[in-house]
């Protein structure tokens, strides 16, 4: 290993890579940029290939985000995250292991980062192994990656192709013969997925099964009343026909 420190730059936008490279060349002429990555997957390959001391990682990249890359290469090099807008609150996680830069990167800020990096690379030869915890926290902070495993979209065959229906738009599902009828404010579609399967895949906070053949969206319920025989009857937004809750599911409406 030569004495010169090595780094890679990962950013999906070419201009920004070039810009950072030029700036680094001015501020830290000794630093060797061994490679540039256009996306997260390339970044991992290059890190494994040329074993840099430092990785400049843009957070929002196709393939894998900068944070995901950091998780995969934990301990192999020092990390500097770059982001246009600090919605991941990287700042809060600034530590020995992780530095960050906000776009547009100014010379002054980059100088500060470089001096810190120099110190680390020159005094300590090994980057800390254990920052996975910080990365996990960062990932849990990422707003776009909700970990919900419930159905968000329903695919329904229509004349014009496969239509995608957001589950939030659905008022109720009702089984009809071999198909399931999906009712939305604007109309209805037939899908082949049976109620039984849907009941397992839909978010139970948002959808309730009220009958062997019916699942309704909780947010669409406008009124719950009782019939003379004690059955619950529910009225749904934009739907004139009331639906009956079968006894098996009436516990959902108790104490309401």
């Amino acid at each position: 290993m030569s004495n010169k420190p090595v780094a890679i730059i990962a950013d999906d936008e070419e201009q920004l890579r070039t810009y950072l490279k030029t700036k680094l060349a001015q501020i830290w002429p000794d630093l060797v940029i061994c490679n540039e990555a256009k996306n997260g997957i390339e970044a991992i390959d290059q890190i494994n290939e040329c074993r840099p001391d430092i990785a400049f990682l843009d957070i929002q990249m196709p393939g894998l985000t900068g944070i995901e890359v950091a998780r995969k290469i934990a301990g192999k090099c020092w990390i500097v995250f770059i982001t246009a807008y600090d919605k991941y609150a990287v700042e809060a996680f600034e530590s020995e292991a992780i530095d960050y830069l906000l776009k547009p990167v100014t010379t002054e800020r980059l100088e500060k980062t470089v001096s810190r990096l120099k110190e680390r690379v020159e005094t300590q030869s090994e980057p800390p192994q254990d920052f996975s915890q910080i990365v996990e926290k960062l990932i849990s902070n990422m707003p776009d990656k909700s970990t919900s495993e419930y159905l968000k979209w329903i695919r329904a065959q229509h004349g014009d192709g496969i239509r995608l229906i957001q589950t939030d738009d659905i008022i109720y599902f009702k089984s009809e013969d071999k198909y399931t009828c999906v009712k939305t404010k604007t109309g209805e579609s037939l899908i082949s997925k049976p109620i039984k399967e849907l009941a397992k895949e839909l978010d139970p906070e948002k959808f309730w099964q009220i009958h062997r053949s019916t699942i309704v969206s909780v947010a669409s319920i406008t009124k719950v009343s009782r019939s003379l025989t004690g059955r619950h009857i529910i009225k749904l937004k934009n739907i004139s026909e009331p639906l009956t809750v079968s006894r098996t599911y009436s516990h959902l409406f108790k104490q309401m």
């Binding site: 999906d12 936008e13 070419e14 201009q15 920004l16 070039t18 810009y19 030029t22 256009k38 996306n39 997957i41 929002q60 196709p62 393939g63 246009a84 807008y85 919605k87 906000l102 776009k103 547009p104 990167v105 776009d144 990656k145 909700s146 970990t147 919900s148 968000k152 979209w153 695919r155 229509h158 014009d160 192709g161 496969i162 239509r163 995608l164 229906i165 957001q166 939030d168 738009d169 604007t186 009343s225 009782r226 019939s227 003379l228 025989t229 009857i233 026909e241 009331p242 009956t244």
Partner: protein, 493 residues
Amino acid sequence: MKFFDMEHPKFSPLKLVIGTIVMASIVAGVLFALKIKDISFYHYFIFSQSIGLSQVVSIILFFYLFHYLFKDKRHLPVMIFILLFSGLIVGSIVGVQIGAVITGKAVIISLMETKLIIDIIIFNLVLGIFITAGFVIKARFFIKLETRQERVNQIANSMFTLKGFAITLVFNTLIAIFLHFVGLKGKPFGSIFLMSQCIGFSVFLSVNAWFYLFRTLHPFVPAIGGVLTGSVLGPLIGARLLGKINLVVNREFDAFFQAIVIGLIFGAIGSCFFYFRAKYSDTKAQAEKERAKRIESKKEAVETNLKLLQAQIEPHFLFNTLSNILSLLDTDLDKGKSMLIDLTKYLRTSLTKTRSEQTTLEQEMEMIRAYLSIFKIRMGDRLTFKIDLPEELKSVYFPPMLIQPLVENSIKHGIEPKVEGGEIVISVQQKAAILRLIVKDTGQGILNQTQDGVGLQNIRKRLSSIFGEEANLSLIENSPSGLKAIIEVPYEQ
């Protein structure tokens, strides 16, 4: 309707009773002054009071019964009418009887006849329940109707037929024969027969009427309700027809009948007064609600505008673009300039547009072109785009910020996350009275990700608030990859 809100009644019972007494006294005075019947003021007074009070009491009683028995408050206006009406009738009949007893005039129906009537009613009730049960079983297990609604419809339809009439006639006759030989020996068969038919057919017709009015309730509700209503009406009609056969103390009957009619008229006037007063206060409350709603929607509009504004100068977009421009100042001055021009164009149009209601499609597309041009420089080969706006549609007015969020979605969730990038095609078509805007991308599609699509909900909300029910946004899978978002709105020349 407030009129019916038994938990927070609009009237205090005490006030109602005092009001009724006063009103009944006035009625008695007026009738006495008019000398409608040659009887003393005492009689008028007692009859007025007993009829009036019985009416009020029975109406309140009926309302309370309905309120606690039927948690399901559908058909409210019809129900109020029926309750008022039956309350008035029952009150009048009972009132006349009470008045007659107090004044010692007569007992309308002799004990014997009462027994006859009660017997017939019991028969009817039992039969009614059995027949209804039969119908329900038939509809459920033989015709196999899934929902209760279908079953009730089936029962209602199969009952009001010639066959239904014939069966009723046969049943009534059987009841009459049975009572003649077993229950009431010595009564002339004719009168039992007539009474039985009167009650039977009243029950039959009222059950049908109930089924017609309360199609959504459990079938036993109209069955029992019908039998009870018919049981009140039937004996009255029977007694009227059998007037000669000494069922009713004959001479008094007309007087009682008149008393009932007069009581009904005044009762109806009183009810109307209360009904409309309640309705008036309801209307006022409604107007208040509307006003609150208007204010709410105004507030919402302001909030949406604010959100739109924020959406356009989305920080991530802005800072990324600015740092691109900064880097281009060192490397490619011309590119940097053109990017700055595009950013200015985009910001200017979008910032001024959110405040105006409408822009032309041309303006909107220019803004989108600027937006996409910025991304084109940033993403290089990874993005290609095409905007297809026919010449004749350029000057069409269109609300701002409906297409842009779709384009933004295509970039953000379709093309940007996809390693090899893709193409965005925006096109506008007009077919007859429909304007169709399509944003198509070859990105990674929507199913692979977990985004919530709050933006889409906002577009839907805006579409429906601007165009009403006729507008719609649909999402269709693009083949082989990506997403096609289609906005359809009504188009006027």
